[in-house]
């Protein structure tokens, strides 16, 4: 594991955790660390969250710091904004990203713009956590990946880790951030694998991607649940002698422009893997960055492997909807053969 892209402060020992356990560990760490941190959401207390992300936290920190709210996303998100402007650092849980829409107005018209409306007099240091994504045979509406709606929203940062280590460090950074952060947790990665995670507090800088593999032939860019898909495709490409640079963006707004430019200038060929719908998706902004920074280095048009411009389908069709390593591999071949 490289250093330099994260900073460790008090961490010493490590634990082996899944991504969802790392989220739990980050929340526990910050509830210990800071009196002003407070959790709100549906079923997060007694039940420990429907994915157990907050398991044990109410028992440890009490009902006043880990609050089971009424079933009201607009209500608890709006209330969290009120608490944030008044000295707290709320971390709210949206049970599934597909249920964030009642809170959309609160986030768009208030959380994201109170700082600019008041020239910094009022600020909203809050985190909105939400599991997202398809591929777990969930009922309808539970599988949306609408990060683009929030990337487009001025005044909120969007973070999306794909590993336990990054999840903990980024969540702590999000809680310490002076501005609102949407923290997207890929459901498909929640229990997919375990990893060594330092105990105690450490942060990973928001706005920095991570290089997962080094290669000169093609750049593959992914985030969240698409990272393992991209890695699998890169491994397959390797067998054919194609060496891929694989970037896990980790933060979706603001993007790590330098890392993208450095890589695509080296390879001249890019494949972007995106679970979300194609039109208006983040991949298009990545292409804009490539255009702005590295146009003359390009040897092939950028390929996007995306979800379609259709609602995320019912689960019987989700394998057709989701990008697969095979689709990514074919896109790699296409940019190589161009």
């Amino acid at each position: 594991m490289g250093t330099g892209w994260y900073s460790m402060t008090t961490a010493v020992n490590t634990k082996t955790l899944t991504l969802v356990q790392a989220v739990n560990d980050a929340l526990r760490t910050m509830l210990h660390e800071r009196e002003d941190v407070i959790l709100l959401g549906e079923d997060i207390g007694q039940n420990g969250g429907v994915f157990r992300a907050t398991d044990g936290l109410q028992a440890e920190f009490g009902e006043e710091r880990v609050i089971d709210t009424p079933l009201s996303e607009a209500g608890f998100t709006g209330a969290a904004i009120g608490m944030a402007v008044n000295g707290f650092r709320p971390v709210v849980e949206i049970q599934f990203l597909g249920f964030i829409y009642p809170a959309y107005e609160q986030i768009m018209t208030h959380a994201a713009r109170i700082r600019s409306r008041t020239k910094g007099h009022f600020t909203v240091p809050m985190v909105i956590r939400a599991p997202y994504g398809a591929g777990v045979r969930a009922p309808e509406i539970h599988s949306d990946s609408t990060e683009a709606l929030f990337i487009h929203m001025p005044g909120i940062k969007v973070v999306c880790p794909s590993t336990p280590y990054d999840a903990k460090g980024l969540l702590i950074a999000a809680i310490e951030d002076p501005d609102p952060v949407l923290f997207l947790e890929p459901m498909r990665c929640y229990r997919a694998f375990r990893e060594e995670v330092p105990e105690g507090k450490y942060t990973i800088e928001i706005g920095k991607g991570k290089k997962l593999r080094e290669g000169d032939d093609v750049t593959v860019i992914a985030w969240g649940a698409m990272v393992p898909v991209a890695v699998k495709a890169a491994e397959e490409a390797e067998k054919k002698g194609i060496h891929a640079d694989v970037i896990d963006l980790r933060t979706l707004y603001p993007l790590d422009k330098d890392m993208i430019a450095e890589s695509v200038q080296k390879t001249g060929r890019t494949v972007i893997v995106q679970e979300a719908h194609s039109t208006g998706g983040l991949a298009n902004d990545i292409i804009a960055i490539i255009n702005d920074t590295s146009f003359l280095y390009q040897k092939a048009p950028v390929e996007r492997v995306s979800g379609f411009d259709t609602p995320v389908p019912f689960f019987a069709y989700e394998d057709d909807y989701l990008p697969t390593p095979e689709r990514v591999l074919r896109a790699i071949d296409k940019v190589i053969q161009f």
């Binding site: 549906e42 079923d43 207390g45 007694q46 039940n47 420990g48 429907v50 089971d68 009424p70 079933l71 009201s72 996303e73 607009a74 209500g75 597909g98 249920f99 829409y101 009642p102 045979r137 969930a138 009922p139 309808e140 509406i141 539970h142 194609s278 039109t279 390929e303 492997v305 379609f308 411009d309 259709t310 609602p311 389908p313 019912f314 689960f315 019987a316 069709y317 989700e318 057709d320 909807y321 689709r327 074919r330 896109a331 071949d333 296409k334």
Partner: protein, 356 residues
């Protein structure tokens, strides 16, 4: 407020009729229909839980314990009425005439499951909580504008009353005097959150006061109370009396869904105790026994018929051809946009070896 909105019971836990004015309306024919549908809905629900365990359907939301709410209210509907369910209300939709095959398709992750039988105004289950209330107000208002005698019924849970859409739906219906019945199944839990933490009010029915509409609180495990109060509310709606909020107090015996573990947040002994005392089916059986209408052989026949009906539906569902990915693209718009057409073409080209 509990005095102003007392819980109406037509029949007590022992199956004795408490409101003699209904005695004449409780015909053997009505009772047999109620009983048959209660058995049918319960057997179907149990079968679905076991299909989920075997991996033959996806995550499933059981309603066992709430059958009287769903059967009693759906039986009070007339052919041309609208029904707006949640994910937990297929006991109501199947009673109103939805096909078991389609309900099973829904839980198998197929959008065919959202299509009602011809002529039935059954909306797809609402998954985002409380969003269906304004739809019901609007559909009912449309019936009024069209000058029909049709009404709408919309189902929702206790947790749903915390969402803005609950209040907006009630207010809209109130302002426009829409012929709609807001049927709340107060099963006292929203996943893990008990009603005492969901709201400070002692009843849900009292929320009707804020919108100046009728509000009633009934024992949701008493099928007669459900049937007659829903019928009354629907009649009022049809005759220009505006909307009604019905709070039916009930209890879900099992988990919120097959993905939920209720022992995390409540003592399941409570469900056992309620099965003994307030179970909607046992209660009706007690009444039937008193009347001499409980015939073991008839009951056995119903169970056999229902078993055969369910087995048939499962067989049909399992013979349905695999989901066709073209369906994903073909129904987004009346005419697909070029983006969707291109993506569809690329997808099928990819299946044949191209890129997508």
């Amino acid at each position: 407020m509990e005095q102003q909105f007392p819980m109406i019971q037509v029949m007590d836990y022992e199956g004795c009729i408490l409101m003699p004015e209904y005695r004449k309306k409780i015909t053997k024919e009505l009772v047999m229909a109620c009983y048959r549908h209660l058995i049918r809905t319960r057997m179907f629900d149990r079968k679905c839980v076991s299909l989920q365990r075997q991996g033959r359907i996806g995550t499933y939301a059981p309603y066992e314990g709430q059958e009287a709410c769903q059967v009693g209210s759906a039986l009070a509907l007339k052919e041309g009425d609208w029904l707006f369910p949640t994910y937990r209300d297929h006991g109501a939709t199947m009673t109103f005439g939805h096909s078991l095959k389609h309900i099973l398709l829904y839980w198998k992750g197929r959008n065919e499951g959202c299509i009602p039988p011809n002529g039935k105004k059954i909306f797809p289950p609402s998954v985002p909580i409380a969003t269906q209330l304004p739809h019901a107000a609007g559909a009912a208002y449309a019936e009024k504008r069209k000058g029909t005698m049709n009404a709408a019924i919309v189902y929702f849970g206790d947790g749903a009353t915390s969402e803005g859409d609950f209040h907006e739906g009630l207010n809209f219906a109130s302002v426009f005097h829409a012929p709609v019945v807001f049927f709340n199944q107060n099963n006292q839990y929203a996943i893990s959150v008990p009603i005492t933490r969901q709201m400070k009010t002692k009843t849900i029915a009292q929320k009707a006061l804020a919108y100046d509409i009728e509000g009633v609180r009934i024992d949701g495990n008493d099928i007669f109370a459900v049937y007659f109060e829903t019928e009354k509310a629907l009649e009022r709606a049809r005759n220009g009396g505006g909307p009604t909020l019905i709070e039916a107090v009930t209890w879900r015996y099992g988990a919120h869904t097959t993905a939920d573990d209720p022992t995390k947040y409540r003592d399941q002994e409570e469900s056992k105790r309620r099965r003994e005392t307030t179970d909607p089916i046992r209660r009706l059986e007690r009444f039937m026994k008193q009347e001499g209408w409980f015939d073991e052989e008839w009951v056995q026949n119903i169970q056999d018929e229902v078993t055969a009906e369910i087995d048939q539906a499962i067989m049909e569902v399992e013979r349905v051809p695999e989901a066709n990915p073209a369906d994903m693209f073909d129904y987004v718009f009346a005419e697909p946009t070029w983006t969707i057409e291109e993506q569809k073409k690329a997808y099928f080209a990819w299946e044949r070896g191209g890129t997508a």
